[in-house]
């Protein structure tokens, strides 16, 4: 990849990351449904078959358990597969392979068999997709010990986090917020990688902390911007890595403001947002002036396109939650 800073989309950043990894490491292989000549329905593998050959990036038969199961075997045998699940809900057929093998093989064999593989999952909504194309499925993976679960929110993170994911000796579920695929941003390839497992304070603020990740990050930033107009200073933390979770950064942020709202698109019940709320409260209880609030998707199946805006955490809903943080005694 050319050096220096360029303005590219997250989709392009992911494509570059995959190409750079494949160039550096001949054991990296990419496969899945339609990732070959078509370049994937989101074009993340665009041109890779043409440039790296049909062996390195190829279409499989249409079977997600097969894709993940075959990747497990290839990883057992010296390779670093990067597989694509076409959409969030279409990763479910692979669930047994993910939970019972991908997550557990290192542990099962006391480290004798390791599975350096990446399962890419385009996820979440906001693109007017029909049913089964917009699930926020990160909680299923984050709840499963043995999986590393990452989710970038901008092109630069996407590039570096995918590189780190591929380089990791363990399996990663790499959740790509599909509504952010096309947004462009500067990517400075000379900047070093952020370091796996780290959250990032992406906006400073003093009154309250918004903790968020993936598809909700731009909304949280917007909300902070709007709050600033109203004279309230909101800090924004992008968790980025759901597992491992960066307690240190997140808790330091919350302690610095004393108030927090967790913002996530997934349905809230027994979710990653629940976890963040619980752990922040456990760890920062005496720094908190108000209970940690959650702004999440409702506990409903993802809505049809015409109604999806109601499900997505929006600026107003976030600001309402911030207003609820018991400011009266300030």
């Amino acid at each position: 990849m050319a050096e220096g800073s360029t303005k590219i989309s997250m989709a392009q950043a992911l494509n570059r990351a995959l190409r750079d990894a494949m160039t550096e490491d001949p054991t990296v292989y990419a496969f899945g449904e339609d990732v070959g000549p078509l370049g994937g329905v989101f074009r993340i593998t665009d041109g890779i078959t043409a440039d790296f050959g049909e062996d390195r990036c190829f279409d499989t038969p249409l079977a997600e358990s097969g894709i993940v199961g075959m990747a497990v075997g290839m990883a057992m045998n010296g390779m670093r597969p990067v597989v694509e699940m076409q959409f969030d809900a279409f990763a479910y057929p692979a669930f047994e392979q993910v939970i019972s093998h991908v997550a557990k093989t290192r542990n099962r064999t006391r480290g004798k068999v390791t599975l350096p593989m990446v399962i890419r999952v385009p996820y979440a909504g906001g693109i007017g997709g029909v049913e089964h194309h917009c699930d926020s499925s990160e909680a299923y993976y984050a709840h499963t010990p043995g999986l590393t679960v990452l989710t970038p929110s901008n092109p630069a993170d996407a590039y570096w986090m995918l590189r780190e994911a591929i380089a990791l000796p363990d399996p990663v579920v790499f959740m790509e917020p599909k509504k952010l695929y096309w947004g462009k941003d500067e990517v400075d390839l000379d900047t070093p990688a952020p370091g796996l497992g780290t959250a990032s304070v992406i906006r400073e603020g003093t009154d309250a902390t918004l903790i968020t990740y993936g598809p909700s990050v731009p909304t949280a930033l917007e909300a902070a911007e709007a709050a600033a107009q109203e004279g309230r200073s909101l800090q924004v933390v992008d968790a980025r890595s759901l597992v491992p979770f960066d307690d240190a950064t997140v808790c330091e942020a919350v302690r610095s403001t004393g108030r927090a709202v967790v913002v996530a698109e997934a349905s809230g019940f027994a979710s990653v947002a629940s976890e963040i709320t619980a752990r922040v409260t456990e760890r920062c209880f005496h720094s908190l002036a108000a209970p940690v609030r959650r702004v999440t998707g409702f506990d409903i199946p993802y809505p049809p396109p015409k109604l999806e805006r109601h499900q997505l955490p929006g600026v107003d809903r976030i600001l309402d939650a911030v207003d609820d943080l018991q400011w009266e005694d300030q």
């Binding site: 339609d34 007017g128 506990d299």
Partner: protein, 361 residues
């Protein structure tokens, strides 16, 4: 155990009409009667019109998405016409024309395509399951519906559709196996249109044919020219009758071709040449049926006019439906998750209602 040769499909796909419309002699399968072919022709014309109209509405930005079955209308029509009123049809996302051929209100199918709701018709009304998106999953539901009917001693047959790509999913395997073990009256009808989005059949299977999958379950497999409505009807009639008579499930593979891109969101020039598509225009299921009916002088001018009129009515209804304001109420989001909303949902519905009232909605 069945003699294994009986379970293998015929050497070539069954064809009763050549692309020219000339009939092919078949020692066991007679050509369907002319009135049946006329009804099928009408359904083909309507199906084509539905595909064209939906495509136009997508281009006008009035539908969110449309997976076209242009060129596959003989399969769509055959699947719907081969079953009786009390039977069930399990269509996929691509089988809109089949659902309409079965009697589902064309406007109700727009509910999904407009993005109003996930499904727009009452599945019990015409016994048409919701159009399925997660591939092959509906085949198991079809087996369950058939098994329940059989347990009650009903003569119901279930026509379960899927694509060539879907045959690779584990659920396809489990469905055929369950159906065979329980002798469930299901006809599995695979529309092999040679593509699963961009992936050609050769990447999907190395089998001699998809119909050869039947024997591994003890199911008779058959293959048919999927662009020949006469052959599709003749084969499906036979298999439906066999399933109804207690013969257990059947597997039928229709050889057809996806003439258009996967959906409007797809760019098929990235993975296939126009040259590959072209010959299939010569195998058009409509032209073929029309040629036969003309030769038999069954297609009177008046009849043609009536059929064209019906097709236009359907298209007009779709246009009106596409323009109608059918936006669902936000409160619906909470109405159908459970029979009785949980306390959690009641709270969340109140939150949204409050937000909307503050917005002035």
């Amino acid at each position: 155990m069945a003699d294994d040769q009986d379970l293998l499909p015929s050497e070539q796909p069954v064809q009763l009409l050549e692309p020219s419309g000339r009939t092919v002699e078949n020692p066991v399968l007679p050509l369907p009667r002319t009135d049946r072919l006329l009804a099928a022709y009408e359904s083909l014309v309507v199906g084509r019109r539905v595909n064209d109209q939906a495509g136009a509405l997508v281009r006008q930005g009035k539908l969110a998405v449309y997976p076209s079955s242009h060129g596959q209308e003989a399969c769509q029509t055959g699947a719907a016409l081969a079953i009786a009123d009390g039977d069930w049809l399990f269509p996929t996302y691509r089988d809109t024309a089949a659902a309409i051929a079965r009697g589902v209100d064309p406007v109700q199918v727009l509910t999904l395509l407009k993005g109003d709701w996930h499904s727009g018709y009452d599945p019990h009304e015409k016994r048409v399951a919701p159009q399925a998106t997660p591939l092959a999953t509906q085949l198991l539901h079809a087996v369950g519906v058939a098994h329940a009917a059989r347990l009650r001693g009903e003569g119901t047959v279930v026509m379960a559709l899927c694509g060539d790509g879907a045959t690779s999913e584990g659920d396809f395997h489990e469905a055929l196996n369950f159906a065979a073990v329980f002798k469930a009256p299901v006809v599995f009808f695979v529309q092999n249109n040679e593509y699963a989005i961009s992936v050609p059949l050769a990447r999907q299977t190395a089998a001699p044919s998809l119909a050869h999958k039947g024997i591994g379950y003890g199911i008779k497999g058959e293959r048919v020219d999927g662009n020949d409505i006469a052959a599709v009807l003749a084969v499906l009639d036979r298999e439906v009758a066999a399933a109804r008579a207690g013969g257990g499930p059947r597997l039928v593979e229709a050889h057809t071709y996806r003439m258009q891109a996967h959906t409007n969101a797809d760019d098929d020039t990235r993975y296939r040449d126009g040259e590959e598509v072209d010959p299939w225009y010569g195998r058009d299921p409509l032209l073929r049926a029309e040629a036969l009916l003309k030769r038999r002088r069954a297609l009177t001018k008046a009849r043609r006019a009536r059929i064209a009129e019906r097709a236009e009515e359907v298209a007009a209804a779709m246009r009106v439906g596409a323009d109608a304001d059918t936006d669902p109420a936000p409160s619906e989001l909470f109405a159908h998750v459970y029979a009785t909303p949980t306390p959690q949902l009641t709270e969340q519905a109140a939150l949204l209602a409050d937000e909307l009232s503050r917005e002035g909605n």
